[in-house]
Symmetry: D3
Subunit: 238 residues, 6 copies
């Protein structure tokens, strides 16, 4: 039995609250159970130096966690003067995942920054950030389309969402919360598109190495969970 009483293949309650920011071109407060991430998509008329005059745009992401998003207060990264390796790793992953479904040439020489700030953490913040970040990005593109800047269908090639899976007390389970995440022997994050393509797989043995069979079980769970997340995204952005 999972600590949360869920079935092994059962996700937490997932919701997308759109338009939560007065200022951002797109925004979404995504909740995976008690994990709450505020995602905003900001459009800027600039691109990184290496893309100038290329006609191509850029999608980037930043990730942060409020100091008391966690059970114990964590030191504020702005105060310690640098972003941790974990933060940098996650925001690189979020950016790559979102870019995987965007045609940067169709976007034009513009940059969209997706900020994912964890208001409350209970495991799976990076997968929530990708899944909710997509919705914020979608709304930013809709804002642009409403102003005849782009055509969404040409810029956005597919949906993208992410989920974590792990092996807890020998059982492969879907969408780990913090209690499970801390105890899991193996922990894997999967990012996939609406058409079932794989964008990213990150599997890590926290304790003993895992077998190929175990990995295949996690992959199957992830496929199921992501299909569900993409359904929910589609309902959210209808």
């Amino acid at each position: 039995m999972r600590p949360s009483k869920r079935q092994p293949d059962e996700m937490r309650a997932v919701s997308f609250e759109r338009g939560v920011s007065k200022h951002a071109e797109g925004s979404c407060l995504v909740r995976f159970g008690d994990t709450h991430v505020l995602c905003t998509a900001s459009l800027e008329e600039k691109v990184p130096a290496w893309l100038r005059n290329s006609g191509k745009g850029w999608i980037t992401a930043e990730y942060g966690m409020l100091p008391r998003a966690t059970g114990e207060r964590t030191r504020r990264e702005a105060a310690s003067g640098k972003q941790s390796g974990r933060t940098l790793e996650i925001q690189r992953l979020v950016g790559r995942s979102l870019r995987a479904v965007v045609d940067l040439t169709a976007l034009g020489e513009l940059q969209i920054t997706v900020d994912c700030d964890v208001l409350q953490a209970d495991g799976g913040t990076r997968t929530a950030a990708i899944t909710g970040g997509f919705v914020a990005l979608y709304d930013c593109l809709a804002w642009m389309q409403a102003r005849q800047m782009i055509t969404i269908d040409r810029v956005l090639k597919d949906h993208v969402a992410a989920v974590s899976c792990g092996i807890c007390e020998g059982v492969p389970v879907l969408d780990l919360d913090y209690a499970e995440d801390s105890a899991a022997g193996t922990d894997a994050n999967f990012v996939m598109t609406g058409s079932g393509g794989i964008v990213e797989i990150q599997g890590t043995a926290e304790g003993a190495p895992f077998s190929e069979e175990e990995f295949q079980a996690l992959l199957a769970l992830a496929r199921k969970g992501i299909a569900r997340l993409i359904e929910l995204q589609k309902m959210a952005v209808l």
Copy 2:
């Protein structure tokens, strides 16, 4: 006429949403109109080095703003590697203001950190942070009282709240929003207690210097606004 159609002595809608964090000992999402600040109070069993073995505790505050809390995206302080002068100035002010109503000896050798993170900014973030931070602090102390760690009435000497005032097109007005704040010739922040004592006054001429009469008008408005805020705090923490 003010941009928001308010009367000169009319505050924005103010609300306190308590218990918004699963983890923090005290928390409050305070709204002054479109300015939304998430305040959490975190209890830690440590004090700054200069208080060790003194028997006294400490209240400190940190302040942050999500990158897209503002009309234009602001660079993330964690990414730029340091907190701006404005951030440091505000968090020092919030900490001083809250300490003004706390008996640090009655608290005992413990530290409470009040994190004030601006989710959305529309002027007056520092005054909202102080006013909402008080509620988070109150709830943290209530949490401690429930565990027989302290007696609230001995630790908390009074309420404290803050409001900004300014002179806009020659008229003294209460509780500036961003549109007024940008245009105001004079801008002042006041921090006062429930019994009417003054904790902090910060008045700045943005353009032409202001007269003593103008300043007195701002002070009178502030007194009125803060009395109202403290009424609302009292209703919130009943």
Copy 3:
């Protein structure tokens, strides 16, 4: 009786020593008793990015303290790798105060940086920095006028000076030295112009909140002290 035997409304001996720097366009070593601040005004042919091609100039200030300006040696900010919140707060205040009496359009697209470095500290370093910084700025403008770059009377709209006041053992006193500053229950800094306009008020309750009456007493003292400082400035720059 004050530790320095001064009357409540008596300032310390104040002096301005001009032309102390061989290199700077304007310079002044200001002394408020044992508080000594070396102020230099440096003219540069550049302005901050947001003013480029605006035709307007800029006045900015930086503040520093030699490590042994204080009773105990303080860590050198260059060695610790960042300026403290206190430093940033003070230099922002000095810059705002000086800009309050300057017509930036009449200055033209040039920048003057006023560096205020505390050689010896005995309370009131920020008010000495503003008061002496004005003299350095004046001399820089005189240097420019001598070269037909500007007309002082069009650039400089008024004098500006600053003083601190506080309530020590229940008595409102003018121009706190370090011994008083450490013990004062309330501490306020005032910045005013030659014509009596208020540029900045910062009042802080260090211990118990203060009353409106107490604040008015401090304001009256400050008005008197600043009038005297501006007289001295005028004698200095004749």
Copy 4:
């Protein structure tokens, strides 16, 4: 045909040169073709704070790249003042991978730091670092065993090695060099143990998402490559 004329399942020439450092307890210069990584294992009588008095030891890794290890000179991280996200990500991976085969309790309260410095880069530096880092670690443990500090067989539970695979022009290939890595549509790194357990999988779609079938092909290649690397490790440390 691959740029290097290799077969799809053919690795580059791999060699381990042991004992290359006069000072380190263990060291290995590992070469995967033109990728050369100098690995040293340093024993220290300290552990991270959270392990003090736990009786358990720690294995950690750091990663760096000489500025001209690459085709274009890269800025020195010591000069830019921080380690990039990529560097932090890699050194966290190397540390996790090595810890996966070590019994930290059997090690005792000691720390071994494995430094992996890339002298020359031609793709696959992180997989070379893990594979060669294991040899340096082994030699450090042998050094300790020779001094009766530990028994290798109790500390080291298995071998561990890593390899990258990718899909280049539609063909799954093993052990990408830089030319392939830049062009690959999909790039994956695998870390496995001598007994075939999986320690880490990182698969990333650089362009189009990849299918499950493609991923399985990469996994099969990796299994083959890692088995070969572990054979070579065993020959090296005989």
Copy 5:
């Protein structure tokens, strides 16, 4: 003819103004012509970690330059967030030079920090810092002797002073000012003791390499200049 009309072996006017700091245990404002360096010696009851419980003390130095000490304003190191290589190099040199004449065991487990802050620069700031730093250190030791903490004669083994020499338009000259320093083909700094021992020699060819004969000429000039500086030090501390 030198720009300053001095003879080749003529130093600038040198003066030592002692006791310039109200707070420091020892202090000296040293002037080598228009180069003015404020030196303070601060006694602290702590030593670097590697000397704890050794019974030995430590002498260290820090160096800084006010932003407008120079002809053009230099960026404040506290604002740029780090000390330049030049600053670090100079303060290491000052520390080494002073330690060369101190018996650290006789000092006891205490630290004296000599801060050398350049108020005005006109060439030779490092040599003025060493020469004036010695006087500040002497006065700090005298302060300690007056409190029966040490015996000066046991702690201080000799005098130490420094001077620069260079070859300007083919002529070896003593004590370069800024005009000469910028134009000199060769520039050398010498640190020597009262008894004529050499503590440090730093000679650098700015343009063409110099010959051994030229170097010997500089060394002879330095010997003469330092003898004179030590005479002046002795008069100053009598």
Copy 6:
């Protein structure tokens, strides 16, 4: 007798291994006994800001040490976030030394960065870096000449090499290794050209000051050692 059994005027075995980097325009692994420094020379089509449009080029150097190049592991500078004073001092010295033999106008508006990374340290790393850095620079210039970009003979005015000398147990000795360096009372580094000109002299008394006679003995040893190093350089680059 020296720890290494060498005669006082005997250098360690010195070798230059050229072409060790696949990528760099010039490279050299220089060995002075157990001190091994990897030097690469990288050509870039940019110059520092102050040389733009001057027609002149620039030679600069950077220095680093692998963490376990030393007997005890040293903290990685990239991790600590800054280069130490020692590192900055050395890389400034290497750059100055190499520029002393280059005609920057004949080079044209290009920059060559010589990176000197110590793989293993046993004393004398800076002198090895200069001596081996010259060979890397030479090979970079040869690479450029082969592409008709420059004529070596016009760019390179002479050879340059460096060696350390010291007084160990009263005896002047040449080319100190770590054991001697730690114990030496006096330590001096000399940089000279092929034609015998002196580029840099740095002599430091670690303990007691040294006499002029001692210094002359060190200079004579250095002259001999550098003549030998330049012979070896010439054989290496033939």
